[in-house]
C-alpha cells in the first residue's frame, strides 16, 4: 500500500496522472513486468510440457534426431545470447548511474548481439530446409525412428521459432528504447522502460538456456 503524499511542489514530468509519486509508479511497473514474465513462463511451459512428454515416450528417437542439430552453431549462439544479456544488464546499470551516452552504447551492442543470434539461427534453419528436416510431407530422416524424429523437429521449430519471435520483438523494443534514450528521457530518477526491457531480454535468454541442452545436447553423448 502506498502512502498518499500531498501533491505539493510540481509533479515530475515522467509521473503519470494516476500515480501519487515516482516510487509507486516504479513499483507498479516492475511488478507488472514480472507478472507479464510469469505469463511468458506458462506460454513456453506448454511447449516444454509437450517436449517432456514425448521425450519420455520416444527417448531414443529424440537422441537420434538431436544428432542432426549443429552443436557448434548452437553453442556459439548460447555464448552470443549470454553476452547480450550482459550488455543489457550494463545498459540498465548505465541508466541507474545516469550515464546517458553509455545507455545508448550498451543497447546498440545488445541489438548487434541479438542480430548475430538471429543470423546464426537463420543459417541453421536454412540448413534444416536443405536436409529435409522440416516436418511435413517433405520430411526425410535416414535411419530408425523417422516418425518420432519428426516430432522432435516439430518441437525444435515450434520452440526455437517462438523464441526467435521473442528476439525479434525484443530488438524492435530496443530500437524504441534507444530512441527514447537519445531524447534524454532516462536518468537515475526514472528508467523504468530500460529496466523492464532488461527483464524481458534476460527472460528470453533464460528460455534459450533451457532450449540449448534440451534440443542440442540430448544426443551427443556416445
Amino acid at each position: 500500500m502506498h502512502s498518499g503524499h500531498a501533491a505539493g511542489g510540481g509533479r515530475p514530468p515522467a509521473l503519470a496522472h494516476h500515480f501519487d509519486d515516482l516510487e509507486q509508479q516504479k513499483e507498479a511497473s516492475t511488478l507488472g513486468m514480472w507478472i507479464f514474465l510469469v505469463t511468458e513462463v506458462m506460454f513456453f511451459g506448454g511447449m516444454f510440457t509437450g517436449y517432456a512428454v514425448y521425450r519420455a515416450l520416444y527417448h531414443e528417437a529424440f537422441m537420434a534426431a538431436s544428432d542432426h542439430l549443429d552443436l557448434k552453431l548452437g553453442g556459439i549462439n548460447t555464448v552470443v545470447l549470454i553476452l547480450s544479456s550482459f550488455t543489457m544488464a550494463m545498459a540498465v546499470h548505465a541508466a541507474q548511474t545516469s550515464k546517458r551516452k553509455a545507455i545508448i552504447n550498451w543497447l546498440v551492442l545488445t541489438i548487434i548481439l541479438g542480430s548475430v543470434f538471429l543470423g546464426i539461427k537463420y543459417v541453421e534453419y536454412g540448413d534444416k530446409f536443405h536436409h529435409h528436416l522440416v516436418p511435413g510431407p517433405h520430411f526425410e530422416f535416414a535411419g530408425a525412428h523417422a516418425q518420432h524424429a519428426q516430432l522432435f523437429f516439430s518441437f525444435y521449430f515450434a520452440m526455437t521459432g517462438f523464441h526467435a519471435l521473442h528476439m525479434v520483438i525484443g530488438i524492435g523494443l530496443l530500437l524504441w528504447i534507444i530512441a527514447l534514450a537519445a531524447r534524454g528521457r532516462f536518468s537515475a530518477e526514472y528508467y523504468n522502460p530500460v529496466e523492464n526491457m532488461g527483464l524481458y531480454w534476460h527472460f528470453v535468454d533464460i528460455i534459450w538456456i533451457f532450449l540449448f541442452p534440451l534440443l542440442y545436447l540430448v544426443g551427443h553423448h556416445k
Binding site: A6, H18, L31, E40, M42, M47, L57, P135, L151
Partner: protein, 558 residues
C-alpha cells in the same frame, strides 16, 4: 408501495452532477482513445452485449433445431457450425470478459479508492485486442464458419475439419491476450494502488474475487494460447505435434487445453461470486457472515481449480490412476464453493432483506449455483461420469454454472451498479419481473437436460432418437421464455439512460468507496483520495454511511 421491502430507490432531487466521466468529453474519438477505466468498461459493455446477442441467436437456432428429432431445420454441417459458434462466442467473447472487463474494469479502481487502473493505456489496448480477436472470429463465421466445437480437439481440428479453423484459432489466440492484460492490470492495481487505510482485509469481497480471477487469467491463458497456436501450426505447416500418425498424442492437446479451460470456468464464476457478496450485503444491510472465509475461499477455488483439469478426461484414455487423482482433487474444490453458499445464506439471517431486483437476481444465483455445483459432484464421481460424460447432463450442469451462475451474477451486478454507471435509476418493477422470468425460463430450459443426459442423449447431436423428444420440447419452450427474459432488461436499461430519474450518489444506502463519489463519478473517480477507516460492510456503525468519505489524505500518517 407500502411494503418497505419492496420499496424502490428514491430519485435524487439534486439531479446528475454537472461534470462526470460521461459528459466530460464528446465525440467518437473521446471514446476510442480514452484511457479512463470507466469508459473502457462501457466499450467492453457494448461489445460484450453484441456478442451475447449473437451467441444467444445461435442458441435459439440450436433449440429450434432440437424441437424435432429429425434434424430438419439445418443441415448437419450447419448445425455443427452453429453450436461451435455458440460455444466460441459465449465462452471466449462473452463469459470470460463479462464481469471482469465490464464491472471489474469499472469498479476495481473505485472500490479501492484509486484514480485509475495501474496501466490505463494497456487497459485500452486490451479492448482493442479483444475487438481484433472478435472481428477475426466473426470473419470466420461469415466466411463459412467452423465446426470443431469450442474445444478444438485434435486430430479433428488439425487434420480432418474443412472449415475455417485457422481464422477462429487466431481470433481466440489474440483474444487470450486481452484477458491476460486485464488480469495483469488488476493484479498490479490491487497490489499497488489501494487508498490509504485500505488494508487487504478491508477490501470488498468483489476485489478478492477479482484478484483470484486475475491469477487464473495470467497463469492459465498462456497455456491455452500455446495449445491453440500448436493446432494452428499443425494445420498450416503440417508440423504435427498431436498427429497420431507420427506418434503424437491427441490426449496431450486435451491436457494443455483443459489446464486453462477448466480454471476458465472459475474465471466466469468467481467474479460473479464477488458481485453476489456485494449485493447480498447491501440488500440485507449487514456485514457478510464470515468475511475471511468468503475471501479465502475465492483464493482456494483459484488455486485448487488449477489441479483438477483431468476430470474432463475420465473416459479419454488417460490413465486410471490419474483419473482417481483428478477426481479426489475435484471434490476438494467443491468445499470452498459450498462454504460461500452457506455464508451468503447465513448473511441473510437477522438481516433487513429488501426485494430489490439485484437481490432477486442474487437469490436466484444462490439457488441455481447450488444445483449447478451439486450436479458437478455427479461428474467428479468417476463411476457415474463414465455414463454421463459428453451427454446432455454435462450441458445442463455447466449451463447451471455459467448461465444460472455467471449470467445471473452479471445481471445482478449490472442492475446493482447501473445507477453508478449511468447516474440513473432503472425501472425497478420491470427489473423484478425480468428476474423472475429469467429464473423460470432458465429452469425450464436446462432442468430437462439433466434427465436427457442420464437417459444417454449425447451432446452435439444434430438429430436424435425420438424417445428424447418430449424433454427436448420442454427445453426449447423454456429457451423461448429465457430469450424474452433477457430481452426485457436490454430494453429498459437503454430506456433508462435517457429517461431514468437521477440516482444520486448512493441509492441503495450501501457501503463501499464506490458509493461515496457522485453518480456517475468524475473522470478521476474521487475529488480527494479517500481515507479508509473501517472494514468492508460496516453497516452498523455509529457514523452514517456518507461521512466516512472526503477526509483528506494529509491526515494519514505516510
Amino acid at each position: 408501495m407500502s411494503n418497505p421491502a419492496l420499496e424502490s430507490p428514491k430519485p435524487s432531487p439534486e439531479g446528475l452532477p454537472k461534470v462526470h466521466y460521461l459528459n466530460v468529453d464528446y465525440g467518437i474519438r473521446s471514446w476510442l482513445f480514452t484511457t479512463d477505466h470507466k469508459r473502457i468498461a462501457l466499450l467492453y459493455l457494448a461489445s460484450i452485449t453484441l456478442f451475447f446477442v449473437l451467441g444467444g441467436l445461435f442458441a435459439v437456432l440450436i433449440r429450434l433445431e432440437l424441437l424435432t428429432p429429425q434434424g430438419d431445420l439445418l443441415s448437419s454441417e450447419s448445425y455443427n457450425k452453429v453450436f461451435t459458434a455458440h460455444g466460441v462466442i459465449m465462452v471466449f467473447f462473452f463469459l470470460i470478459p463479462s464481469i471482469p472487463a465490464v464491472l471489474g474494469n469499472f469498479l476495481v479502481p473505485l472500490m479501492i479508492g484509486a484514480k485509475d487502473l495501474a496501466f490505463p493505456r494497456i487497459n485500452l489496448l486490451s479492448w482493442y485486442i479483444y475487438t481484433v480477436g472478435g472481428i477475426l472470429t466473426l470473419g470466420a463465421l461469415l466466411a463459412g464458419g467452423v465446426d470443431t466445437g469450442w474445444t478444438f480437439y485434435a486430430p479433428y481440428s488439425t487434420v480432418y475439419s474443412n472449415s475455417h479453423v485457422m481464422l477462429v484459432a487466431v481470433g481466440v489466440f489474440i483474444n487470450g491476450f486481452s484477458s491476460i492484460l486485464t488480469g495483469f492490470n488488476f493484479l498490479v492495481t490491487i497490489h499497488k494502488m489501494r487508498a490509504p487505510g485500505m488494508t487487504w482485509f478491508r477490501m470488498p469481497l468483489f476485489i478478492w474475487s477479482h484478484y483470484a480471477t486475475s491469477i487464473i487469467m495470467i497463469l492459465g491463458t498462456p497455456v491455452v494460447a500455446i495449445a491453440i497456436a500448436l493446432v494452428g501450426i499443425e494445420r498450416l505447416f503440417h508440423i504435427g505435434i498431436f498427429d497420431p500418425n507420427i506418434g503424437g498424442d491427441p490426449i496431450l492437446f486435451q491436457h494443455l487445453f483443459w489446464f486453462y479451460s477448466h480454471p476458465a470456468v472459475y474465471i466466469m464464476i468467481l467474479p460473479s461470486m464477488g458481485v453476489i457478496s456485494e449485493v447480498i450485503c447491501a440488500g440485507a444491510r449487514k456485514k457478510v457472515f464470515g468475511y475471511s472465509f468468503v475471501a479465502f475461499s475465492s483464493m482456494a477455488i483459484a488455486l485448487i481449480g488449477f489441479l483438477v483439469w483431468g476430470h474432463h478426461m475420465f473416459v479419454s484414455g488417460q490413465s486410471m490412476y490419474a483419473g482417481m487423482v483428478f477426481s479426489v482433487l475435484s471434490f476438494l474444490v467443491a468445499i470452498p464453493s459450498a462454504v460461500k453458499v452457506f455464508n451468503w445464506t447465513a448473511t441473510l439471517y437477522k438481516g433487513s432483506v429488501a426485494y430489490t431486483a439485484p437481490m432477486i437476481f442474487a437469490m436466484g444465483f444462490i439457488g441455481l449455483f447450488t444445483i449447478g455445483g451439486l450436479t458437478g459432484m455427479f461428474l467428479a464421481t468417476l463411476g457415474v461420469d463414465v455414463h454421463l460424460h459428453d451427454t446432455y447432463f454435462i450441458v445442463a450442469h455447466f449451463h447451471y454454472i455459467m448461465v444460472g451462475g455467471a449470467i445471473m451474477g452479471y445481471l445482478a451486478g449490472i442492475h446493482f451498479w447501473w445507477p453508478k454507471i449511468s447516474g440513473r435509476l432503472y425501472p425497478e418493477g420491470w427489473a423484478r419481473f425480468a428476474a423472475l422470468i429469467i429464473f423460470a425460463g432458465f429452469n425450464l430450459t436446462f432442468f430437462p437436460q439433466f434427465i436427457l443426459g442420464y437417459l444417454g442423449m449425447p451432446r452435439r447431436y444434430h438429430f436424435y432418437p425420438e424417445e428424447f423428444q418430449v424433454l427436448n420440447v420442454m427445453s426449447t419452450a423454456g429457451a423461448s421464455i429465457l430469450a424474452v427474459g433477457y430481452a426485457i432488461p436490454l430494453v429498459y436499461l437503454i430506456w433508462s439512460v435517457r429517461y431514468g430519474p437521477a440516482a444520486g450518489p448512493n441509492p441503495w444506502k450501501a457501503k463501499g468507496l464506490e458509493w461515496q463519489t457522485t453518480s456517475p463519478p468524475p473522470t478521476f473517480n474521487f475529488d480527494k483520495t479517500p481515507l479508509v477507516t473501517e472494514d468492508a460492510y460496516e453497516y452498523y456503525s455509529a457514523a452514517p454511511a456518507e461521512s466516512a468519505a472526503g477526509l483528506t489524505p494529509e491526515k494519514q500518517v505516510g
